[in-house]
Amino acid sequence: MIYQQLINGLMLGASYALIAIGYTLIFGVLKLLYFAHGEVFMVGAFVGLYLVILGGANIYVALLGAMIACAMLGVIAVYVSVRPVAKNRPLAPLISTIGLTIVLQNLAVYIFGGQQVGFPETVKQELYNFGPITVSSVQIFILAIATTLMVVLWLFIEHTKMGRAIRATAENHETAALLGVNVNRVVLITFMIGSGIAGVAGVLDGIKNSGISPFIGLGAAVKGLIVMLLGGLGNVPGAMVAGLLLGMIEILSAAYIGTTERDFFSFMILILILLYRPTGLFGTRMTEER
């Protein structure tokens, strides 16, 4: 059973990782705890759902649509809750993004209702047996999409001009600006990328869990934060590994200890990391003092 549970952990971890990547990118370039990220994830799931229902159940259309919609949402977020807010007060952008979180979540409640809605079956269900392990076509699909996305993103960050600009901005705004990086544009693009990935993660989550609700965002945001810290701020590969790690830990604790305790471990990890290893397990790209 343990192998099967590890597969479950992998699935859960993949979605955590996707959320955390966006977080860590945004945190990197903006040094901002962007609370609304979980809600972007939720909006992505709903956009995906509606595209599936309206657009004739083509999952790729839904994924792409959710990605674009969420990238747009990221742009809106920048223009509404980041740009116009006073920069010299460290709390101000945090609170304005909390405001955005509340708005998005409750707009969703208002529009879609406060209940869980089913996500139609879009990937043909088939089961493959590998010895003691059973893997479903849905799981393979989710994992394939998530992995592809992560690899593409990693290549983008490491090997493109924009990727270098993002890394430079993450390390130091002033230096990046001196090197001729347009910091404002980098921030905007980072938000678009992070939000787009969160949107895809939302759709994948809908496929995986069969149901979505307007309230999935907050939990996702908190878990994404834990993964971000675990992986090291601004560290994209770190976030990927840490996401898988947290997914495994949660599934194993749910399977062998108890479901009510599963959150306990996540939050203990959060606290221990904050106190004893603030650079995360894999180091950080930030040079900032704590």
Binding site: M1, Q4, Q5, N8, M11, L12, V109, G113, G114, Q115, Q116, V117, G118, P120, E121, Q125, L127, T134, S136, V138, D205, K208, N209, S210, G211, I212, S213, F215, I216, G219, I251, L252, A254, A255, G258, T259, T260
Partner: protein, 392 residues
Amino acid sequence: MRPIGNLASSVGLATVMFVMAPTSDAEAAKLAGRSVKIGCQVSLTGKGTEWGQAAKAAMEVAAEEINAKDGIGGIPLELICYDTQTLESEALKTVSRLVERDKVLAISGPCFSSEFETIAPQLDARLKTVIMSYCSAKPGLSAMSKWAFRNTLTSDKQLTPVVEAWVKEYKPKKVVIIYDAEDAVSKAEGAIILPALFKKHGIEILDMLTYRTKDTDYSAQITRAKSLGAQGIGLGSCYQNAAAIAKEAHKQGLTVPIIGGACASAPGFIEIAGKAAEGAYMSTAAWGDDPRPEVQAFMKKVVAKLGGKQPPYSGPRAYDIVFAFKHCIETTGVTNKPSDLYSDRDKIRECLQGLKKFPGVAGELTMNEVRDGVGVTAILKVVNGKYTNIAK
């Protein structure tokens, strides 16, 4: 206090008049005030959405029917409904708002056992107003206060015939139980009622697994159930989670029969679970396929209000509550004067306590000594994406 005999005869009289749809009630004097206020607590958001929506629609249908005639005691019925969000704390807040600000005569609701269990202890000391639930099914709750009523059957009564039929069809030897540790009725079903019934039928319980209401990932539980070799799944679960669990089982290739308790039997279960719902058994406290024309007329109106959806049992039960209230208000000398509010509420309570064979769309209603409904119920099985009553 009125003698019981007198009360019973007036019940009989009202019954006749209800069925014959009287134009006016000769016995009851015209009530004071501009309207009769009845409170209603419904869960329009959260895990109980469908239950609450159905109940609200049904009560509105009842109010429209009543007001289309002569109202209650000659004045219109005013239904004041609040959303409890399926949260205990919100249920408490709205009940005190109904009692203390809106000054309603009686309250229909709350829907959920968790909510009911939270309000009931406050009734004797503070609220002193009838609450009557149209969904709650956890055994033993109405006994908490003389003001607490339910016209539903408790879970144990609902599940007994369903488990029997389920076992007869699928003959499982080993099952797992999965339940929501945060929901009162689901926990009662998962931890107490289902194990007892399974034991009675000689079925081995492999494991009891829990989850939290807000959980969305059930892969760990299903993997465990599968590895243990479960031949059936007993669910103490509301429809949204139940459907997600059924789907997860389906995805992992665990295609074993499912049996669900009171909260699972909403149409939303089938809607969300799709194919995975097929063959599942559900318990219920009412089923609207009674061929009587008034039942069919009611169902038609409610289904129209719900946008074509069948209501779960909260619909018919909530509808009946409004008429039970109407009956008690009109027959016990309730005046509806603000100064008589407390005695009016008490009169309604006494009247409901003695309710026997009161006709309604969910069947005849009789209150037992602990103020829970008694009667027969349906057994629901999902066949071709529809709930079908397979009870004789």
